[in-house]
């Protein structure tokens, strides 16, 4: 009986106290016909055995040198981040409902909110959502709720938003009678042409999603797009990469008044790739929208003696109070990931983070320069990018992917399924963890595949 501390004596005494002959008797209210009998599950493994099994499973994963981004990024995570995040007191605590016995988690969350507000230059941040895609879906729902000016439920959703995010938004808002209007991109620049928004200027638009950086790694004209939203009574939803914000103008400063909501994927801030999760979504907004913000919030207050303390607050927005009319159904969020992100940001600081961002940028620049010199490779878009970019080869992208994988390299992400119009295109990313030699290796491998 792993993890069950009861001795035979314990059981005997407990049953005696209860005055029942057996544990079975305690299930007496359950109709007998419901019992399922022996399940077909494998027999119990001792810790030593499961450790051996999982090590073997881990060996079946194949480490590839990572040049893929597309929503999940390999960044170096300082050892201190998880050494502290993994402490039992963080790891094995529940949501901080009893504030006085949860000041550790609560203060971390308050600091997290502060850092995210600082990074995005927004007023407030919630304490996390599930991931980047759900943060965008929640932002869309929130925009509709908060936009008193608009009577429509029309959302402009650029095609330069991550296709996975778009499909999640579709699933989540499907039952809410929202209309997601796809906004095309300029095939030359790979960005939204702000002029193209003019066709929507007469219509009532509830919100415009503005991705920075966009899915192709490119920089959108965020000021113009935000201005357009402001001028047209639409909520400007910034979908941002937090790492990029160390370098790029933050959503709070876009256009004249800034975006209304900023959301995105927090994984770049100290969270391992881990096959896709757990990551965390973040969401920040202007004070005016606070009461429509989904998710938990931690506030600073004082105790009975006037001493500073922290507590969950504005819970009237949440499901456990407002039930069917809450701002979201979210309950369990991604707390521990946020703890790691807080420690990551504290460790890196403004300058450390900027340097990481810049190194990613420079590495991808150098990769793309290398590739551009290869016969049979061309850059697909010419504008500036942050740390991802798209190239096209004269051979099928699949061959490049497979060929590089054989050599232990994850070449990037194939765009053909979502963007057939781009041809044999691959989205590639070189973060700060890639060395010059590795970048050169990548270029050489691509070149030799194309020579074949």
């Amino acid at each position: 009986m792993p993890f069950i501390p009861h001795t035979e004596d314990d059981v005997r005494e407990m049953l005696a106290t209860l005055g029942v002959p057996s544990i079975e008797a305690l299930f007496g209210e359950i109709p007998a016909e419901l019992y399922c009998g022996e399940l077909e599950l494998p027999p119990a493994l001792k810790e030593m055995e499961i450790a051996r099994l999982m090590r073997a499973r881990a060996q079946q994963n194949r480490p590839l040198l990572c040049f893929a981004g597309a929503g999940a990024y390999e960044h170096y995570i300082p050892a201190a981040v998880w050494a502290v995040t993994g402490r039992g007191e963080f790891y094995s605590a529940y949501t901080p409902y009893q504030a006085e016995a949860s000041q550790g988690t609560l203060q971390v969350l308050y600091e997290y909110q502060s850092m995210m507000a600082g990074l995005t230059a927004m007023d407030v941040s919630n304490a996390s959502l599930y991931d980047g895609a759900t943060s965008l879906a929640e932002a869309v729902l929130m925009a509709v709720r908060t936009n008193r000016k608009s009577h429509s439920r029309r959302i402009l959703m650029p095609k330069t938003v991550h296709p996975f995010y778009r499909r999640v938004v579709e699933t989540i808002v499907s039952s809410q009678a929202l209309e997601l209007i796809e906004l095309p991109y300029d095939i030359e620049t790979g960005c939204i042409d702000p002029a193209s928004l003019e066709t929507h200027s007469d219509t009532d638009v509830a919100a415009l999603v503005i991705p920075q950086i966009n899915f192709f790694g490119l920089l959108e004209a965020v000021d113009e797009l935000t201005e357009w939203a402001a001028a047209n009574g639409a909520i400007a939803i910034a979908l941002v990469n937090p790492m990029a914000l160390a370098l790029l103008k933050p959503p709070g400063e876009w256009g004249k008044t800034g975006a209304n909501i900023a959301c995105g994927e927090g994984q770049p801030l100290g969270i391992p790739l881990s096959g896709g999760g757990p990551y965390f979504g973040f969401m920040c907004c202007r004070k005016a929208h606070l009461h429509q913000l989904p998710g938990r919030l931690v506030g600073r207050t004082v105790d009975a003696e006037g001493k500073r303390g922290f507590t969950l607050t504005l819970q009237a927005r949440e499901q456990h109070i407002r039930r069917g009319r809450a701002t979201s159904n979210i309950c369990t969020n991604q707390g521990l990931m946020v703890t790691a992100a807080t420690i990551y940001m504290a460790l890196l600081g403004p300058e450390g983070l900027r340097r990481v961002a810049l190194q990613c940028h420079r590495n991808t620049l150098s990769l793309m320069n290398g590739l551009a010199a290869v016969d049979g490779v061309e850059r697909v878009f010419s504008g500036p990018f942050f740390h991802e970019a798209v190239y096209r080869t004269r051979k099928p992208a699949r061959e490049i992917m497979d060929g590089l994988a054989e050599q232990g390299i994850l070449a990037g992400y194939e765009l053909a399924r979502d963007y057939p119009e781009l041809g044999e295109a691959i989205l590639v990313c070189a973060t700060e963890t890639r060395t010059e030699e590795e970048i050169e290796l990548y270029v050489r491998r691509v070149a030799s595949l194309l020579e074949l």
Partner: protein
């Protein structure tokens, strides 16, 4: 002290600073950041010391008994953490799972299959990030089911009044009207009220069984009949599966769709609020609608099913494949329990709950459902105390903290006044339960003799009672440098 209070301009954890790389040669100036983000500037020791000390201000399973009802706060085996964190698992890029993550996928596939067996459903998807998202996926599947049959009149979702808040929230997020169904005096769903509520407008009912009242609804089959006959579907909130795991299966009770909370029943950690994982299971009726991805086994290789395989799927709910790291922990846990161990979870969590209930009743506490057996949790009400001594459940809860135990869930479910929902879980020993009962009795005595001691509790933590009203009235949600 906040980390910002420790910040000094120019201080830094320099081992983390990459070499200065100037400015971007290509990004236009107007897109660059000019303001310095207000992150703290501190040393590595500052960071380690600050957050280590903060952690010590938490109560947690690793340090305290934590009988928080509905939350299943049991021991999180350390080995689950270590094994999920093997570098080969951690370093796999989500877009390379099929190509380079066959080991991960093997675990996920087997987890899917084991959960299918444990719940008695026909198919399982692991994608949902938490219980509430599982509920939402379930609601969407119910919607899709009726929708594809052209049954568009089904606009109502039935939810018992004792249900967890996420149930109605998920139902309305899924586009349904929520209709509450009353609870009878025995804690079961009031069948008469149900008969009243059900009709052609009923899309389904969301049920937790054992319920959040801590009792197993014996009439679950009757409920299933009524709802099914009316054309509705049954949703099972698996938050309380711990009470019956390995003994009774939601599929066998007649449920069409379910979610599980791996961070409850399967002991993945709560992390101070997450991450969790909320896999969903369905019977044959709903199989086509299961959210993506689902892991399939093609010969020796594993792959992810897509829209091409499952055209009627409700789609994707998260960016990638869900909280894989959490799923791996649950996989390890279930493999360690095995078939026997799983059943014993139910048995011993039930034994602990009933034993503790008995001890508390002996100590003078009033159970919410005196005629009923407890499932893995139970409710006591302090309404007499509130009335006679003006000591609330909250006061009592805060006083518990002084004795080094986390308080049970308070004021939930809402229909029981001044209640404690108490869930000891199977990983706590009789000694711990006995001590808890003693502490409860001691506080009860204090409530009679020195009620102010409770009203002004806690006394021994890093802060005294916090002013929550002020927090909400004057929201201070982010540090601002003066």
């Amino acid at each position: 002290m906040l980390i910002f209070d420790r910040s000094r301009r120019g201080r830094a954890a320099r081992a983390q600073w990459l070499p200065e790389a100037g400015e971007s040669p290509v990004i236009p100036d107007h897109l660059l950041r000019k303001s310095r983000p207000s992150l703290p500037e501190v040393s590595e020791l500052d960071v380690v010391r600050h957050y280590t000390r903060l952690s010590q201000q938490n109560y947690s399973i690793d340090t305290q008994f934590y009988p928080l009802g509905s939350c299943t706060m049991k021991y999180n085996p350390k080995v689950c953490h270590d094994l999920a964190n093997l570098p080969e698992f951690l370093n796999t890029h989500p877009l390379a799972l099929e190509r380079a993550g066959q080991g991960t996928l093997a675990c996920l596939y087997e987890l899917q299959e084991m959960l299918r067996e444990i719940t008695g459903m026909a198919g399982v998807s692991l994608a949902c990030a938490a219980g509430a998202q599982g509920e939402f996926a379930g609601v969407l599947m119910i919607r899709a089911y009726h929708g594809l049959r052209g049954d568009s009149a089904r606009t109502e979702m039935l939810v018992p009044d004792a249900a967890h808040g996420t149930n109605p929230a998920s139902a309305s997020m899924g586009g349904f009207q929520v209709r509450e169904v009353a609870t009878g005096p025995d804690g079961n769903v009031d069948l008469a009220a149900l008969a009243q509520a059900v009709g052609p407008q009923t899309a389904g009912i969301m049920l937790t069984n054992p319920s959040t009242l801590g009792v197993f609804d014996q009439h679950v089959q009757a409920i299933a009949d009524v709802v099914h006959k009316a054309g509705g579907l049954l949703y099972y909130d698996g938050a309380n599966l711990n009470a019956i795991a390995g003994k009774v299966r939601p599929g066998d009770m007649g449920f069409d769709v379910i979610h599980l909370n791996l961070h409850k029943t399967f002991s993945t950690p709560h992390g101070g609020g997450g991450p969790g994982a909320g896999p969903v299971g369905v019977n044959d009726k709903l199989l086509p609608y299961l959210p993506l991805p689902v892991v399939a086994k093609d010969g020796p290789r594993y792959r992810m099913l897509t829209e091409a395989d499952r055209p009627h799927s409700i789609g994707h709910l998260v960016t990638f494949a869900g909280n894989v790291g959490v799923l791996l922990r649950a996989y390890v846990y279930i493999r360690m329990l095995g078939r026997e161990g799983l059943r014993r979870v139910a048995e011993f969590s039930t034994l602990n709950a009933n034993y503790l209930l008995k001890k508390l009743v002996e100590a003078g506490f009033e159970p919410a459902f005196p005629q009923r057996l407890a499932a893995h949790e139970f409710i006591i009400t302090l309404k007499r105390l509130a009335k006679e001594r003006h000591v609330t459940a909250l006061d009592f809860a805060k006083r518990l903290l002084d004795y080094g135990v986390h308080a049970p869930t308070v004021y939930f479910p809402l229909l029981i006044p001044e209640c404690f929902l108490i869930e000891p879980t199977e990983t706590e020993s009789k000694d711990t339960l006995d001590r808890f009962a003693e502490v409860m009795a001691a506080i009860l005595k204090e409530a009679e003799t020195d009620p102010d001691r409770l009203k002004s509790a806690p006394h021994s933590l890093s802060v005294r009672r916090l002013d929550e009203v002020r927090a909400a009235r004057h929201p201070d949600l982010a540090y601002k440098a003066e």
